[in-house]
């Protein structure tokens, strides 16, 4: 009888482990490929809060459009007023065939200068306009920049998640390792931990107000806290629209220069 139980247990174990489990790379790709419409737009309010509780607010409007495999996006600052009208156009491309990340094409328009500047599209490790988010955090970080591993499984507010580890290939990257809690059912990120070069916990991410809008999973509130400075940024989205007509001319350098996008 004992033998039978052991055999059954072994058979069940083999059966379970031979199920088509997703590996880390596949999960990361599913997160990257999470549908977000052919076009989308939203207004984002970023509240920067320092350790004394003093807050500063930035409001931006973002438009996104897919053009073949190219993701085009334009960001326009509405506040604070001294940077209102500053706009940023970026074309993001799929990774190179060898798996390495391809630089984005980026242009910046500064109303005070009255001209558009070509800017480097490779450095996305920097903080986005003084917030605790980097340019990479705000967009889709290229899969070619990391290696992946599943650290385990966990629940976040009752949601079953994978703990997925992203390790930067660049040994000099400011953030060497990210651990994200990815929903098993929807591939949405529910929370995250970011580690510095010394593998010390550097930033934490909390995602809230996650729901489907027009059929697309949308995270409407994210809070990123930098532990070393106790500074945090709350990113809240409103006026979210998917698959609505957006003038393709918005995604041109000419539109930036003519202050056409607002």
């Amino acid at each position: 009888m004992r033998k039978l139980i052991i055999i059954c247990a072994v058979i069940m174990l083999v059966a379970v482990t031979s199920l088509p489990a997703q590996d880390a790379q596949e999960i990361a790709k599913a997160v990257y490929d999470l549908p977000d419409g052919n076009t989308s737009s939203h207004v984002a309010v970023l509240t920067l809060i320092d350790k004394s509780g003093k807050s500063r607010v930035r409001e931006i409007v973002q438009f996104n459009m897919k053009d073949g495999t190219t993701k085009k996006n334009v960001t326009v600052f509405r506040s604070p007023k001294d940077v209102a009208g500053v706009s940023y156009l970026s074309f993001d491309y799929p990774d190179n065939p060898d798996g390495s990340a391809k630089d984005s094409d980026s242009w910046l328009y500064l109303p005070a200068m009255k001209k558009v500047r070509r800017v480097s599209g490779s450095s996305k490790d920097d903080d986005f306009q003084g917030t605790d988010f980097t340019y990479d955090d705000m967009g889709d970080r290229s899969l070619g920049k990391d290696t992946f591993a599943i650290l385990g499984e966990d629940n976040v507010d009752g949601i079953a998640c994978w703990k997925l580890e992203y390790t930067a290939k660049d040994k000099n990257a400011k953030i060497s390792r990210r651990v994200l809690w990815i929903g098993k059912d929807n591939y949405v990120t529910y929370k995250g931990e970011y580690y510095d070069k010394q593998n010390k916990l550097f930033k934490t991410l909390v995602c809230e107000n996650i729901e489907q809008i027009d059929g697309y999973w949308t995270t409407q509130k994210m809070t990123m806290t930098t532990l070393t400075t106790n500074h945090k940024t709350v990113f809240e989205m409103k006026d979210i629209q998917y698959d609505k007509d957006i003038n393709p001319a918005f995604f041109t350098v000419s539109a930036l220069e003519r202050e056409q996008v607002k």
């Binding site: 630089d103 800017v119 480097s120 202050e259 056409q260």
Partner: protein
């Protein structure tokens, strides 16, 4: 009472046309004062700058059109505003001035666009240096605590554009000539006649690609500064220019280059003028390593053909610029150092600046401008030595 009625009518005129439109009103209030540094001889401790100004921008949008008006109301405690674009009013001592920097309407169709009125266009890839950026004249009255980008004056022009997916072609017709302003004023100079035959013309073609951006420029018009004829009178001369530029992103760098050719340009001699071919060219880069650093460096060469010792300039002049900027405390504090060096005499102009955002609306600046002579006590920046000063500036944006 008449003033009150005028004011009420002005408000009504401003308000009525914008009914039903998307309207935006923004601007800034700036107050700044600066004193001469200890090595500035008689200027030591004297106020060299003391200005208060209100810069406001009004935009009205309707469908594909935009109305844009930008004006500055200024009070200069040290007096003497210049004419042309900045005209003294209210009192006769020249303390107050109103400047209409830009006022135009803009229409954009599917492929074509039109901009009519007083407008500013910036050409070229250079940063803070004039190579092909000759479309707009400059306010040359401001030297300390000011920026090259703020010195452009509007031109009264019609701009017609053809817009492609990744390119733009602009044609400019500038029927009314606008000269640069100078500290001496321009009243004594003979300006071109105000007539159709005095018009200026310009064109630009720009292409934006993944590997690089480039532009071509053409201009036929007038010199923005007068030349002194052999009879001792200042006159504005005709000039032409063709130019090109490119910006090439390479990793964390953006390489920039720009060149302009001026055929048979009028040049100032010790007595009278002569004509020479002139080439100006620039090579430089922007480097944005992570960590909030921005580093910009440029080399500029300015060559005039044909040796002539009677020219008031050298046939070969060159200079370099370096700008280092670093942000701190979530971009609340920015420190920057900007240096222009004349490589013939090694005279330099250096600006050190600390910029602190007190709140989202208020920014405070501490600016030190140093003009230093070269070893031979000469050079283009050395002559401004006694204007070296330290300035405190506050700005409120709304």
């Amino acid at each position: 009472m008449r003033k009150l009625i005028t004011a009420v009518l002005s408000v009504l005129v401003l308000c009525i046309p914008v009914y039903g439109q998307d309207v935006d009103y923004s601007g800034s209030f700036v107050s700044q004062a600066g004193v001469g540094l200890p090595y500035t001889h008689d200027n030591k401790g004297d106020f060299l700058i003391s200005q208060t100004y209100f810069d406001s921008t009004f935009r009205a949008y309707m469908d594909e059109t935009m109305l844009y008006v930008n004006s500055i109301l200024m009070y200069d405690a040290l007096g003497d505003q210049t004419s042309n674009g900045v005209s003294a009013f209210v009192d006769d001592d020249g303390n107050f001035a109103l400047q209409l920097k830009e006022a135009y309407f803009d229409w954009r169709g599917e492929k074509m666009a039109l901009r009519v009125g007083r407008q500013i266009s910036a050409w070229g890839k250079a940063d803070g240096v004039q190579i092909a950026d000759i479309l707009c004249p400059q306010d040359e009255t401001k030297l300390i605590a000011s920026d090259y980008k703020d010195s452009r004056l509007g031109i009264d022009a019609v701009r017609l554009s053809y817009i492609g997916e990744s390119s733009q072609t602009d044609f400019y017709w500038i029927p009314i000539f606008t000269p640069s302003t100078t500290p001496e004023g321009i009243d004594d100079y003979h300006q071109p006649d105000k007539g159709l035959y005095s018009s200026e013309y310009a064109a630009r073609f720009s292409k934006y690609m993944s590997a690089f951006d480039f532009s071509f420029y053409g201009f036929y018009g007038w010199e923005d500064l007068p030349l002194i004829s052999s009879d001792g009178k200042g006159k504005y001369k005709r000039m032409a220019m063709v130019g090109a530029d490119a910006a090439i992103p390479v990793g964390d760098f953006v390489l920039r280059t720009e060149a302009a050719f001026f055929p048979q340009r009028y040049m100032q001699k010790e007595t009278g003028t002569t004509r020479r071919n002139q080439v100006k060219a620039l090579a430089g880069f922007d480097w944005t390593p992570s960590g909030g650093w921005t580093i910009t460096a440029q080399y500029v060469a300015d060559i005039v053909t044909g040796g002539d010792s009677s020219l008031v300039r050298h046939t070969y002049e060159h200079m370099a610029t370096l700008n280092i900027e670093k942000t701190f405390m979530n971009e609340t504090l920015t420190l920057s150092a900007e240096c222009y060096a004349d490589l013939r005499y090694f005279s330099t102009s250096t600006e050190l600046m600390a910029e602190y955002k007190l709140t989202d609306a208020i920014t405070m600046y501490l600016i030190a401008d140093f003009f230093l002579e070269g070893p031979e006590k000469e050079g283009m920046y050395g002559e401004y030595r006694d204007l070296s000063c330290i300035t405190l500036k506050g700005k409120y944006s709304f």
